[in-house]
């Protein structure tokens, strides 16, 4: 037969060969049980409360549980390192304000009189008493939000608490 001719008799005979391809012996004896077992398992799963179904999904996907665990640990360590970083930064700032921080050049754009900015923490005797309610660094009255030079870029340190030693 020439390819392209419209007589498909030989082809149909050849296609009949596919009918002889058979699954492993006993396959169709087991098949209905497998289907019914899957249906019953699904029905049992839908009868569970929602939280057990959620947990059940994790049971089926250990990789998902592992990934979730790693994600939680990652967030924890990130938080921990950030906390350390912030602590180190505040430790550098708290003992005494570095001169450059309050240098005239740094505050030039802020239009704050350099003379009014404190050079270091005032002593307890200057302030009266130490309290988180009595911020010692910001002795001057706070500037308004829309005051000239005010804004997020102006560093302004408010000490919230400190302890008094040797009194």
């Amino acid at each position: 037969m020439q390819p392209g001719s419209e007589d498909f008799e030989s082809l149909q005979k050849l296609l009949a060969l596919k009918r002889y391809e058979q699954p492993p012996p006993g396959y169709f004896d087991r098949f209905p049980y497998q289907v019914m077992a899957r249906i019953e398992a699904e029905e049992a799963r839908f009868q569970l409360p929602w939280w057990e179904r959620v947990l059940g999904r994790f049971d089926l996907k250990p990789a998902l549980v592992g990934a979730f665990g790693f994600a939680v640990m990652g967030v924890y360590f990130l938080g921990l390192s950030l906390a350390n970083y912030v602590e180190q930064q505040s430790a550098q700032l708290s003992p005494a304000m570095p001169g450059s921080w309050y240098s005239p050049s740094a505050l030039a754009g802020a239009q704050i009189p350099v003379e009014s900015a404190p050079r270091a923490f005032p002593s307890v005797s200057q302030v009266g008493f130490a309290s988180s309610m009595n911020p010692v660094m910001d002795a001057a009255p706070p500037r308004g939000l829309f005051a000239p030079g005010a804004g997020m870029h102006i560093p302004e340190l408010n000490r919230v608490s400190f302890s008094v030693r040797g009194e």
Binding site: L11, L15, L17, R19, Y20, E21, F31
Partner: protein, 206 residues
Amino acid sequence: MIATLSPKPVATEDLPVPIEDQVLVKRAQGGDSAAFDELVRRYQERIYATVYHMTSNHEDANDLAQDAFVKAYRALGSFKGDSSFFTWLYRIAVNKTINFLKQRKNRNHLSLNDLDFNAEHDPDLIALVSDKTPRREVGLVELSEKLNAAMQKLSDDHRLVVTLHDVQGLPHEEISKIMNCNIGTVRSRLFYARQQLQAYLSDYLK
């Protein structure tokens, strides 16, 4: 007992009487799992065979055939009896298979079933196998592999038409219901698919 994949073409007259299916479906809709079990036993071979001939992979066919029956059970409530249960079930299996094949696209791993012993005694197949082949059995296995490889070269729609008509023996009208298209489309797809297959298998056709 050795199960075979529809050794005889399935004609509409061979199908179970629709009323029996309807009774079983009603019972299954009422929660009678034994009735659904009976429906699974009734159609498992045809559903499996369709999916298998579409995928040429036993493992995929097993999963997809099971999925089709599980989905049919879950969707039984929506079955109104507008078409026969057989057509409705076929549609579910075919849609599942086509969706699967779209995802699989570039993975054409064949996992073929063994040939039934009776294939060696089919006079039509004997005639097709070359006389020069030392062992007829080897010739048939090779022929089966070539045939499956050629089938996989067809588009999903063309392979489905050939499977349902030339392998499973369903009439055009039934195929048009399953594929949700008109009979003319079924005929033209069948013609084109046969032409393609004939070209791919020209060395094996006398």
